[in-house]
Symmetry: C2
């Protein structure tokens, strides 16, 4: 983590990459303090604003945090599951919205991932997680709920399902994927009839999880996936033929 040939790209990007590599390689460890901005600018032979731009890049990735005052500075940050989760949601959401990913593709991915943790969840779900799911189902049955609120509750329900696996790595990966799909889901208008159908399936999933019946959870998730895709398909057809 030293050199900067002034050949191609921005200096701040190069410096950020050098420090990033040092963190990833373990050369810099968690909570270690980086040299001060003045020292870094001296070390890299650039001005302080350039160093600062590099540090801001790293801060945007949650790789460092900064503290003002005496004995302040930039410290290597321990990335938390929350940090990672938030970044994943932002990235995934934009990825889906900017790349014309079809509803079917996203939906397939989402349910495939969810089914991946269903067996673990059936085995390990806690009473607390079951209660969360029941509560969300209850909320979904409330009349007068907006489509957005219904979708948000849907996400919370599936989030609880995923957390039931008791594997933080899975939770981080899957919850991000599920949440990133919400904008696409929000495009569906849920009739009273379709809400009823979804709630029925949600209840079946909760029941199966309570009974620790992994196979039943899986088949119901497949049913839910098919139904969700059918709903989206109907919406798309109605948009094409608004007669």
């Amino acid at each position: 983590m030293k050199i900067d040939p002034q050949k191609p790209a921005d200096l701040s990007a190069q410096i950020a990459q050098a420090i990033r590599s040092a963190i990833i390689s373990g050369e810099l460890i968690v909570d270690e303090r980086l040299p001060s901005e003045a020292e870094l600018s001296d070390q890299f032979q650039v001005s302080r604003p350039t160093v600062r731009e590099a540090l801001k890049r790293l801060a945007a990735q949650s790789l460092i945090r900064t503290q003002r005052g005496a004995s302040g500075g930039a410290f290597v940050n321990r990335i938390s599951f929350e940090d990672a989760y938030a970044q994943q949601v932002t990235t995934s959401t934009l990825l889906l919205s900017m790349n014309a990913v079809s509803f079917d593709t996203a939906c397939e991915a989402r349910f495939a991932l969810e089914r991946a943790c269903a067996p673990l969840s059936a085995q390990r779900r806690t009473a607390d997680q079951l209660a969360t799911m029941r509560a969300e189902i209850f909320r979904q049955a409330q009349p007068g709920l907006t489509d957005e609120a219904f979708c948000a509750s849907d996400v919370a329900f599936h989030r609880a399902l995923v957390d039931g696996a008791g594997n933080p790595v899975l939770s981080y990966q899957l919850a991000g994927a599920v949440e990133a799909m919400q904008p696409l889901m929000n495009m569906i208008t849920f009739t009273a009839r379709s809400r009823e159908e979804i709630i029925t399936l949600h209840n079946q999933i909760a029941d199966a999880l309570e009974a620790q019946d992994a196979d039943k959870v899986d088949t119901t998730l497949v049913e839910l996936e098919n139904y969700t895709r059918k709903l989206a398909c109907d919406v798309a057809q109605q948009r094409r033929k608004p007669a």
Copy 2:
């Protein structure tokens, strides 16, 4: 996307958040040009270095790209799967290494995700993807291969499996998870015997995919997961008892 109360946090962070929100909400669309740094500093009533720090934060997340010269500026970037993938690998790798995630937890997550796309892969894998898998298996059988190279080939093999599902969203999510585990996998020392065993399982997976036998792929992946965990367990025990 306008206001900045000078109350709590860094101005550059606030400005970055304001622009980020505008992008996520669709207020700013792909390839749209942001105002120049001078205009932004005027608009937000801050200095140009502060604006620049905000823009570098966004650039670090691949939300914008910049171009110098007349008619240059900052443009809303279309996040590519490659960008998102790279970011996910960085984040996930650090998340695992910094949070004392156990090998078992990471391994369980990895294989759960991989099994999620196995049925799709069995159905849709192309001849090209099968060829990639066979080539990696061949490479893994070479004598004199370092443990690191063996692991890298293992990642490539599983990457091909995941790509076989033909779902870019799944590929992006899963390949990142698999690759993030590589540093943990690298801690295992593979004996000639264990390599042989893994290669046998890889061959069985490739055969099953070729035969489009989803069940067989699944059971073999379970076997591979159990074997991998056993290897890691042995390594851990040997470390404890170096007698």
